[in-house]
């Protein structure tokens, strides 16, 4: 899940999202003034996101007609494409014969915008070339040629070096944004996970408490059973006593019957039956007593196991508490991190 989130979807990323345009504008203006060349930053569709810096009169003439404007746009698009293809700043001759540069702004290998600039010449060639262009784009030939003469002369090396500076700054800004954005996403994920863990911990603590309570109730119930089995024991003592009395009665009756001779024969049979009954009762009592003993042993064992469960759940609760405290610490760290990541 974390892998999906750290690899961001960059297909719909806009230049404005990635770069502080105000800062770029200021930098672009100052840079253009310092070096003496024009510059503008466009998005992937070729639409400017900054105001043009230090545009020449020559270029303003070109942009004054629809056809000139279109030719410029086409020229920029081509230059931008070439720069994006190569992944580095390039210089080229524009449709009007000036030297321009195009520096790609890339994010993870994907083009998000282009810095265009230049509007300089390596050397002034001849007026005819500019008259020809003026006629093609429907501007005044004489004024156009005079504007061409104002074009600053600069070596290709110098142009490329200037482009490199703009390329480096813009891409650093993009990269910086990208890293911050990744950090923000990571801390968001971290926060979310921590919240989930905290919730789970709460559930765990609650269920441990529940187990603990249930076990305590169970132990109390088992103790009730124990008390009842003790009462059964008492009743058994009583029954045994009765069986014993019956046995004595039977024996004495048998003795009397024997002493009565033939007259006591019938009575002797009854006496023997009574003795048998008492003997059976005694055996039954012994059996029940052995069962009760087993029940009590089992109860003792159950209570012991129950106590183990209680102490285990108490340990569990303590561990959960410690863990919750640790998670709280991590959470506050993560919040600080998140604030940092989301600050511009």
């Amino acid at each position: 899940m974390s892998n999906e989130k750290t690899t961001m979807n960059l297909t719909n990323i806009k230049l404005q999202d990635v770069i502080d345009i105000d800062f770029l504008q200021k930098f672009q203006d100052d840079f253009a003034t310092a070096i003496g060349l024009a510059s503008v930053t466009v998005d992937t569709n070729g639409i400017p996101v900054t105001n043009p810096s230090r545009y020449t009169r020559f270029c303003n003439y070109v942009h004054s007609t629809k056809i000139g404007d279109n030719r410029c746009a086409e020229s920029h698009r081509k230059g931008g494409e070439e720069a994006a293809r190569l992944g580095k700043p390039v210089t080229y001759e524009c449709h009007a014969g000036l030297i321009d540069f195009a520096a790609p702004i890339m994010l993870e290998g994907q083009l998000i915008g282009t810095i265009l600039g230049g509007q300089v010449l390596e050397n002034f060639q001849n007026e005819d070339k500019y008259k020809q262009i003026a006629s093609e784009i429907n501007v005044d030939e004489a004024a156009f040629v005079s504007a061409a003469k104002e074009i600053r002369l600069m070596s290709n090396e110098e142009i490329l070096a200037a482009a490199e500076v703009l390329y480096f700054v813009a891409n650093s800004m993009a990269k910086n944004w990208y890293h911050q954005r990744k950090l923000a996403d990571a801390t968001d994920t971290l926060n979310e996970s921590l919240n989930q863990i905290a919730a789970t911990m709460e559930q765990l603590a609650a269920s441990a408490q529940e187990v603990n309570n249930s076990q305590k109730m169970l132990n109390a119930e088992i103790n009730n059973v124990n008390t009842m089995s003790e009462q059964i024991s008492e009743v058994l003592d009583f029954i045994k006593e009765i069986a014993d009395e019956t046995r004595m009665l039977g024996l004495n009756a048998a003795i009397e019957a024997a002493r009565a001779g033939t007259a006591g024969l019938g009575f002797g049979v009854v006496a023997e039956e009574i003795r048998k009954l008492s003997s059976e009762s005694k055996q039954t009592v012994a059996k029940i007593r052995s069962f009760v003993d087993k029940i009590q042993a089992s109860i003792k064992n159950t209570v012991k196991i129950g106590d183990t469960t209680i102490s285990a759940t108490e340990e569990q609760s303590a561990a959960v508490q410690e863990m919750t405290a640790s998670i709280e610490e991590i959470s506050s760290l993560s919040e600080s991190l998140n604030e940092l990541a989301h600050s511009k």
Binding site: M248, A254, I255, E256, A258, R259
Partner: protein, 165 residues
């Protein structure tokens, strides 16, 4: 009588039998107060009041010279009739009344030489599970003992016993 009835009792794991004609009844030792009689033989535990009659209590364990000779509260008293008076024999437990035929009783004169301790043994009955010592209850009291015990009873009436408490 070739097929007499016997009361069988247990004393320290050994079974003994007494002909039912010589038995008056069975009681629990714990139901009685035992009164000590001074100067009586060691095997006389004391006397009891059984329905108004003074009965001397015989400690058979002592009489038979058994190693463990203490009475317990679980013990029972077998009231035997010797001649004209009754004596109480302290036993572990009366367990049964059985019929034993004469053929199943081995006379003791074939088993023992005559000695003072075995004169009251009239025979050994063999049943499937046990050897039962048949006692001649009349000989449990030797002539000399009778001389000691009988005056003991005749010299004291119930009132005299009660006065002693």
């Amino acid at each position: 009588m070739s097929n007499a009835q016997f009361i069988i009792f247990e004393l320290e794991k050994q079974q003994y039998g007494i002909r039912i004609d010589f038995v008056n009844g069975i009681n629990k030792l714990k139901d009685f107060l035992i009164y000590n009689v001074p100067n009586s033989p060691t095997f006389i535990e004391g006397i009891i009041n059984l329905r108004g009659k003074v009965i001397p209590l015989y400690n058979l364990r002592k009489r038979f010279n058994l190693a463990n000779n203490n009475i317990t509260k679980e013990d029972e008293i077998l009231i035997a009739i010797v001649d004209d008076f009754m004596i109480g024999l302290i036993v572990n437990e009366v367990i049964d009344i059985v019929k034993i035929s004469d053929e199943d009783i081995e006379p003791t004169n074939r088993l023992f030489s005559n000695n003072i301790y075995s004169t009251f043994i009239s025979g050994i009955a063999k049943t499937n599970e046990h050897m039962i010592i048949i006692l001649d209850v009349q000989k449990v009291l030797t002539a000399e003992e009778q001389d000691l015990v009988v005056p003991l009873i005749e010299g004291q009436n119930i009132e005299a016993i009660n006065d002693k408490i």
